[in-house]
Symmetry: C2
Subunit: 450 residues, 2 copies
């Protein structure tokens, strides 16, 4: 991909986690945790991201309550509803919400995202997750959390069902002719008649096709099965890497799998997470990180680590070497990409348990570089030009001033270097990302017949 | 209830059906059917309703595509998402969305409405439906639509589950103390541990308690089972009556059942539908109705009638007496309140088939009075003062000018007569309706222990 800098466009999403991505961010002097349920707080962040011409904002989700709410802002508003209220006060920025294929019915989920796409004028993205949180199953009639393989099998069928629903009204099905009294050309509205292992859905969908045809398909699983799933379906991929080399290898692997799956690899945006600490000097940037690390509560961090690794390290010394021997390489978590990222950090950096906790506290395994605005812009440019990334999910370590530093100091540098847009050229999220608008599968079928 | 006019407050909702409530409304010269998927159209209607100090706007819903989309605006955006975008541009008006207990998981539905309640500052209402549309089942893995009894049994358990979820964070569970690092008092966040015939939901919910404690529970079923369900759960009841006597009997019956169920009957708002034709003279008002009736397409109307009655009357003469003998009093539809309303109309008015179609086209069985603003205000006052209604769901026959007539000509008369507010006195939908904010069932349990 080198040498194509002028035509390639960097993508930047703002990933919003209420207080910020450092787990102690809500305790930062500038943070406003009492506004974590105030929609105006998120509307203002989205407007700020839009003023900086970012591609999208992004909300994570899980249909359960996390452990250890005592020490952290761990609740979850429903992201599509939240994004709809953000859509109403913005014009251009993309709106990516997470929703689970394991715990939604496809017809309901299809309605939520198609409605968001309609009301936002084509700005919706669906971050497709299978839900790794074990607690979710117990909220949905299940005695056991389905394993990753079962979840991905359901996810695959789920995506085929919702794609067909979103395609079921051809683009020109609406007529709306007062004179003849014909509202819709019913021959262009198709029952999907899906009958599969997990779902039977007759359709048709109950909404006309949305501005983007389908919301943008976003995905974040980087396990083997996650990569295959992404290669088949994802248009934007959110991934965690600590080094350019790891991100580059991931990107190469993903594009190879996508090509093998019959897709155009250029139609995939690979967007690693970046949680940047920015200061007027490198030392000041590091101080930002250290100040947040001092607000960490180890009891909370160890619980987070238990979720990521599947083992409880509560009995180990915080200031001794990380106990690699305590890890369970057969735990269900061991197949996750985050597990691998952590093992890589331990092997590469040989941290103490406390140092690892501090490293993860920044962004739970995502890249947390620190430096001056120029240094951060250099790193972004380097990853982008090396083909390790098509852009980034920006995960400010704390809000709101941690994000101010990025949009006020780093974005103008990226613009000055010709890497990032100064004005939006498109209206939809697909246009921001340079993705084609998919043709309805039913329209294609008709085209083949004639 | 007579003699209490001064303290009783009339409630008025705006029921929004894209083109209007007459089935041919989209063909009205003033209607803008090309804007039926434009959120700004609905935002403007909500702002107009708010300027007139109405209690709420209201969206119906069904998770399936209706028949006969050829002749009518029959698609359905997802109402909670839609209302969130309306919430963002309004401050006071209530936001009632319909969602089905038959085709949602309780945890997902609880999240949608709690999120709407949070982002709107306490203006959410949930219209609880069990979904009568037979087509829905085939979109949700079922080979057969569950019968009304099975649907109400599930609905009853569903409401208990979501109520417990909404209560699971006590009101004072959030601490958010940066200094101590304590975010939430976890002893005040409760797993609900529900194990029932239809659902097993462990909880806790993943959001703090919403401004209203719980969204307002709205319900519309008026069958025997529907009435019992409403008596147990509903706080606002939407109902269809053609005469004051029928509405009065319904209201008396409902309050008696609510009292028997151990509830305070004063904490229920009974709101019949009204689809008013308004003119500067009674003749002009009737002309509005006739002009719309001329735009009816009988093929479409007969399909609607088949849905309501369960029989196809397509073979009968439009201008002969309505074929009462063709009705199937054993059809599943025969237990519905709308079936009874239609039989009552036929017995009382002895219409031709065409006349019945025209009568139903107005608002599918709801009351469609016509008259001058004074005459409409008189009727509203009469029903209200007789205790037949606590207010109305206003269903304009067409939008937007059909609604303009109501807010510009009728609302000021109701205000001048002291029946309707000139300014909002509350901020939440519960406050508009005069409903108490429910105490969390978990807080009560604690109170009993100490």
């Amino acid at each position: 991909m080198s040498g194509t800098t002028q035509s390639r466009q960097l993508s930047l999403n703002l990933f919003i986690y209420p207080g910020g991505h450092h787990e102690a961010a809500w305790r930062h002097p500038d943070s406003v945790p009492e506004r974590a349920l105030d929609i105006r707080y998120y509307q203002a962040l989205a407007q700020q991201a839009e003023a900086a011409r970012l591609d999208a904002i992004f909300f994570a989700d899980s249909p359960s309550l996390a452990d250890h709410i005592r020490y952290g802002s761990r609740y979850r508003f429903e992201p599509v509803t939240w994004l709809s209220a953000v859509a109403a006060v913005t014009d251009r920025i993309g709106l990516i919400g997470t929703a689970s294929t394991s715990y939604y019915e496809p017809y309901n989920l299809a309605r939520l995202f198609a409605t968001l796409d309609h009301l936002s004028g084509g700005r919706a993205g669906w971050n497709i997750v299978t839900t790794s949180a074990e607690g979710a199953a117990a909220n949905f009639n299940l005695s056991q959390h389905p394993d990753a393989h079962a979840r991905y099998q359901r996810a695959d069928e789920f995506v085929r069902v919702v794609s067909a629903l979103w395609d079921s009204w051809e683009d020109d099905a609406l007529v709306v002719d007062k004179h003849s009294g014909i509202f819709a050309e019913d021959a262009r509205v198709h029952a999907i008649g899906h009958e599969g292992a997990h779902f039977r859905v007759r359709g048709a969908f109950n909404l006309p096709r949305s501005p983007q045809g389908r919301p943008v398909y976003v995905q974040a699983g980087s396990s083997e099965e996650g990569r295959d799933f992404a290669a088949r379906h994802a248009e934007a991929i959110f991934t965690a890497h600590q080094t350019l080399e790891s991100a580059h290898a991931f990107s190469q692997d993903l594009r190879k799998r996508a090509t093998a799956a019959g897709r155009d690899a250029a139609q995939i945006r690979i967007l690693p997470g970046i949680c940047p600490y920015i200061g007027s000097t490198a030392a000041e940037a590091r101080q930002h990180a250290e100040a947040l690390n001092e607000l960490i509560q180890p009891e909370y961090s160890l619980a987070q680590l238990r979720n990521l690794l599947g083992v409880d390290l509560g009995g180990y010394q915080l200031d001794a070497a990380f106990p690699l021997e305590a890890l369970d390489f057969d735990a269900p978590q061991s197949t996750s990409s985050r597990f691998r990222v952590i093992v890589d950090i331990v092997e590469r950096e040989q941290p103490t348990l406390r140092q690892l906790i501090q490293k993860l506290a920044g962004a739970r395994g995502h890249w947390t570089p620190s430096g001056t605005p120029d240094q951060i812009a250099d790193l972004i440019q380097q990853w982008f030009e090396a083909g390790a990334a098509d852009g980034f999910n920006v995960m400010p370590p704390w809000f709101p001033t941690g994000f101010d530093l990025f949009v006020d100091e780093v974005v103008p540098l990226l613009q000055a270097r010709g890497l990032f847009r100064r004005e939006y050229t498109g209206r939809t999220l697909r246009e921001h990302y340079g993705l084609e608008r998919p043709v309805s599968q039913f329209a294609e079928a008709v085209a083949e017949v004639f």
